[in-house]
């Protein structure tokens, strides 16, 4: 498997990362190497193995519909890079996806 420069750029855009030319080149090789390493698993026949989404065999972990205290707004906003008027402030965005 080969991770092209285009693919790296796409991933960077999705992750909101700005990469330099050299970084794109470097990550393209590194990601390709990582995936090729992981490819080794395909040498085994895993047809009869259930896909594992969880390490522990738990199911149906549920809680009662009970209201618990929320945090104080002061605490909520304490670590925000920008806040005011009881809100988090972020660079202006136009419409949600």
């Amino acid at each position: 498997m080969n991770i092209s420069r285009n693919k790296v750029e796409h991933l960077a855009a999705l992750a909101r990362l700005e990469l330099s030319d050299e970084e794109i080149e470097k990550f393209s090789h590194q990601l390709t190497d990582i995936l090729n390493y992981a490819e080794k698993i395909n040498q085994l026949d895993t047809g009869a193995v259930e896909p594992t989404a969880h390490a522990v065999p738990l199911k149906n972990v549920l809680r009662e519909d009970e209201v618990k205290p929320s945090l104080l707004r002061e605490t909520v906003l304490a670590n925000a890079p920008d806040a005011g008027e009881e809100y988090f402030k972020v660079p202006k965005v136009i419409y949600s996806s």
């Binding site: 796409h10 855009a13 999705l14 992750a15 909101r16 989404a53 969880h54 522990v56 738990l58 199911k59 149906n60 972990v61 549920l62 809680r63 009662e64 519909d65 009970e66 209201v67 618990k68 205290p69 929320s70 945090l71 707004r73 909520v76 906003l77 920008d82 005011g84 008027e85 009881e86 809100y87 988090f88 402030k89 972020v90 660079p91 202006k92 965005v93 136009i94 419409y95 949600s96 996806s97």
Partner: protein, 479 residues
Amino acid sequence: MAYEAVIGLEVHVQLATKSKLFCGCRTEFANAPNSQVCPVCLGLPGVLPVMNQEALKLALTAATALQCDVLPLNRFARKNYFYPDLPKAYQISQYDEPLAKSGYIDILVNGQSRKIGITRVHIEEDAGKLIHAEEFVDPDKSFVDYNRCGTPLIEIVSEPDMRTPEEAYEYLVVLKQILEYTKISDCNMEEGSLRCDANVSVRPKGTTELGTKAEVKNMNSFRGVRDALTYEIKRQIDTLEEGGRIVQETRLFDSRTKRTDSMRGKEEAHDYRYFPEPDLPPLEIDPEWLTAIRQKMPELPQAKKLRFKQEYSLSDEEVTVLTQNRALADFFEKCTKSYPMAKIVGNWVKGEVLANLSANNQQIEDSRLTPAALVSLLKLIDEGKISGKIAKEVLTEIFATGKSPEKIVEEKGMVQISEEGALTGIIEEVLAANPQPVAEYRAGKTKALGFLVGQIMKASKGQANPGIVNQLLRNKLEV
């Protein structure tokens, strides 16, 4: 060329739980910003979401009411995207193993019944709310309120089975009614507890291949959905007729101009990189849960309509009005238990009761009118104690004060005068005061009788029994 539209709807519904989907924060609407958040719904490091079992029960009830097949194994997935309304940078949703698939609802359009397929129903958490209002001083910033973040939703995705804006409208009406009857959601569109997006495309009539679709968003009422679809279908047909082509895109509806406009920019194809949510174990749906849900399922709107029609011999129109919501239907039925003349109850409920509710901007369950009070009122009419006209005034008074009809009638001295002695006095006064009409009547102009009855009613402040007045008046005039 003749075209037909192909419409599918995605409806998000807020489940009526007290607490959020994966944490104990309140779900109430309109509390102070960022006052209903905790480390779980803020996505702080090291927290663990735990599923709300009431949300699961409501979602399963919805799936069952919508005739879906519930999947025996349910998994949650992370839908990854960066946006400020999503503090974790992913939304916990369901992807390839949703709650339920393959349901349907029946709708009636222009007297024709249509089955609209439901592709799937899945559970997911809501995102926060972004505010760009001008009133905030900082024009370069958006403001984020995370109160709504983590609120339990189900998304109901229809098949592209609708062909007209009217069908889409009707689908929403029926869907909302089912969700309200089963108390899954309050379906309040203004508060965002029911939201709808539409996928729409057009194709030459008679062909089966799907055209390129546009996704239309930002509609905040059912009428808005209908208007947006009407505009969008025409726009697509016009584009094709002029030799253009339809671009797959998201378009926003503007309720003022009733137009849709391309949401330009941000056209990077969605790439949500779904993967199984490692923090939540799967749900294995116990068939006994579903049996219990089926046993507790209230009568659904369609079944109720049918039963009302047969049991109470009501017309389609009457039944539609009386079953428009479960509380009103229950109110009607409770009245008929102690006052079996269903037609009369039905007329009052769909006429005067609804008029008063609408005047007070109330729902029946918030009003002061009880079934017992309406029944007492109807009995007062039957006993000749008050006229139908007075009864309407008494009803309005019940809505205002919550007093019993008997008490209102007594306090306001509204009792109908049926007693001959009392009426004769009033009639004689009126006849003495109106010699002209009396003479006219006697000369054969029977129209004058109506005028005289009116005068007598007026003199009695509306309390005279009109039937008896008529009788007595004729006797007097024809001496």
